[in-house]
Symmetry: C2
Subunit: 364 residues, 2 copies
């Protein structure tokens, strides 16, 4: 299924250590615009919905493609944890990847331009974000202190300047902002035109809305927490897949002393999804979220949770214990979280054995 | 001592509700550049050092000026809490102001330009920051959600979108960044040229290095916490005045459910202070800070601390109990913190009586 890639751009970063994961229901013409930036990398395409449909991938890209039949065959009964008819299915791609890094992007995202008119190599910026440390324990007012031309400002404790490894790089969107259905309905014409030239670490203890449209992460550091939950077909909600992954991931990163960055790079988000359809998908999530956030804000993981897997299984227990009463959906989700980890460990046997060491003083 | 101000710019915001506080040891020629933006406002000039020196203020500004003799006369023995030969003396200006808002700026700060070449009205931006809410309980990835063209993104809990009152607006600096002496020594030529077009709330529970160069705050909400400590003449450290105020302020804002913003506006910081002199002032601070940060990170204020004054007095107790053993300086500082509150209440009798109501669920 793979086609050999032609040689493009000069020495792309992490060429053999990063997979690009794309969930899709249509032909991947959007890749044409990304060709100069993506063609050296391997793509993992997760086909959402009807497996009999043929997805066309532009010539010259090196890819593997999984449809629902493939997922069922590979995971067997454990395939139940992978959402159907929802882009949440992308997390299957994280699981089957054998690389250290993942970049995931939606097929309605195009190359954005910086204020000088230059095309933004989003992937390159994500890689820079992931390869430089994060500073979650204290806020630096000049943003990313590791960036060229910047540093830690007066008053930043010297003992914290080494930073911590970065697990997640969350990129942003020009043009169509990532709004919920009510905001889409109220502000149908709002476009994001503000290019904010910053990357920053989200402080420890602070939750954020992680969007899966333009997202990179270190699979070895945090992969098993990047489960996009049960959404879409047969489930009572949608559009909370990336949010769920983000809250779980942030809580676990905080516990393990790992960093989460947001800001650059921007992609160009071409078209807003239908707000009426979105409202139907979201409305229970909007309601439940008011219970979810206090839950995640108060999660405490015990010291013996020294690997992402252990953290995630503990989290699934707490989800069942504390959110099960909000709706039975969370009991199912908690079970799916366990299934997800079992499936992850089955496909990644060596990673399962390696326990992540808890850095000094980073436990809650 | 006051000269009437001529009418300048069209309807300046909060003209009668804001004082500009400037600590200085020299003639205030720098005000010429600020004339279009500052001339409608009242200035409080706090003269640092030798009181016999005459400070010249450009024509047409409405101001009051206090030198050390004035401070001693007004505060009597309580004047001991106001630093001498250090710009920390500026906090005396906060105390004698009768206005709701304060903007403070250093006399080596000039008008910066935005990327389009337009002169930045720093004060106007600070006022916008102070008059719009903050969002400390959850991170918004598109920065200030209250700004035109922006909003809360998908996944931001609706119950948190009302925000909380903003107490502090921390502005930044183009050209000379606010670095400590070691960084100045290592990077003598580094200049900040990056204009980051963002304002953001510093999340609850996160400390930051608050610089006093370009700072605005709501005096009614947080004034008594803006004590710049004991620095300069006769004291073992300098250049930690604003940092100290920032840590105290942030901890109290977090407890009282108030917001702290950082980002825009930029001013143009014209010249770096001498790094060798700075190193002498800072070196104990750099060392002590490693104990101060864990202290402030773990401060818990009891529920009955319902006003800034009560919070501040409780904080002074904890400083004495926990930092007194780091150095005897902190015992003196803790005493000065009490003196400061006594002096504040003496000069602001009505504010002393009004207890700030603790918002729902905002206690630690």
């Amino acid at each position: 299924m793979a086609t050999a890639s032609a040689s493009v751009a000069p020495t792309p970063l992490l060429k053999d250590e990063l997979d690009i994961v794309i969930p899709t229901i249509r032909n991947l013409d959007f890749l044409e615009q990304w060709r100069p930036f993506f063609q050296s990398y391997h793509l993992i395409i997760v086909q959402d919905g009807d497996p009999s449909k043929v997805i066309k991938v532009p010539e010259g890209f090196d890819y593997e493609l999984y449809n629902r039949n493939d997922i069922n065959k590979i995971l067997g009964p454990k395939a139940s944890c992978i959402s159907f008819e929802d882009s949440a299915c992308r997390c299957f791609g994280y699981m089957v990847s054998k690389k250290k890094y993942i970049y995931t992007i939606d097929d309605d995202c195009f190359v954005a331009k910086d204020p000088t008119g230059k095309e933004i190599n989003a992937l390159e910026q994500h890689i820079k974000n992931l390869l430089s440390p994060s500073s979650p324990f204290f806020f630096n007012t000049l943003y990313d202190p590791y960036r060229e031309g910047a540093d830690f400002v007066r008053g930043y404790p010297f003992s914290l300047r080494e930073g911590v490894p970065t697990a997640v790089s969350h990129g942003l969107w020009l043009n169509i902002p990532d709004y919920d259905a009510p905001t889409q309905l109220v502000k149908p014409l709002e476009r994001n035109t503000r290019y904010v030239d910053a990357v920053m670490t989200i402080p420890k203890g602070t939750l954020f809305p992680m969007c899966g449209m333009n997202l990179a992460f270190d699979r070895e550091l945090i992969g098993p927490a990047m489960y996009f939950g049960l959404m879409g077909d047969g489930q009572p909600i949608g559009r909370y897949d990336d949010m769920w992954a983000g809250w779980c991931t942030k809580v676990i990163c905080d516990h393990l002393g790992l960093g989460v960055k947001t800001g650059l790079p921007y992609i160009w988000h071409s078209k807003a999804s239908n707000p009426f359809v979105n409202l139907k998908k979201e409305y229970k999530g909007i309601y439940w979220q008011e219970e979810l956030i206090p839950f995640f804000q108060s999660v405490a993981l015990p010291k013996d949770c020294t690997s992402v897997q252990k953290c995630y299984l503990e989290l699934s227990k707490q989800v069942k214990a504390k959110l099960g009463k909000v709706d039975d959906y969370f009991n199912k989700l908690a079970d799916a979280m366990i299934t997800w980890i079992e499936a992850w460990d089955e496909l990644n046997p060596s990673a399962a054995a390696a326990a992540v060491k808890l850095p000094n003083g980073s436990s809650k």
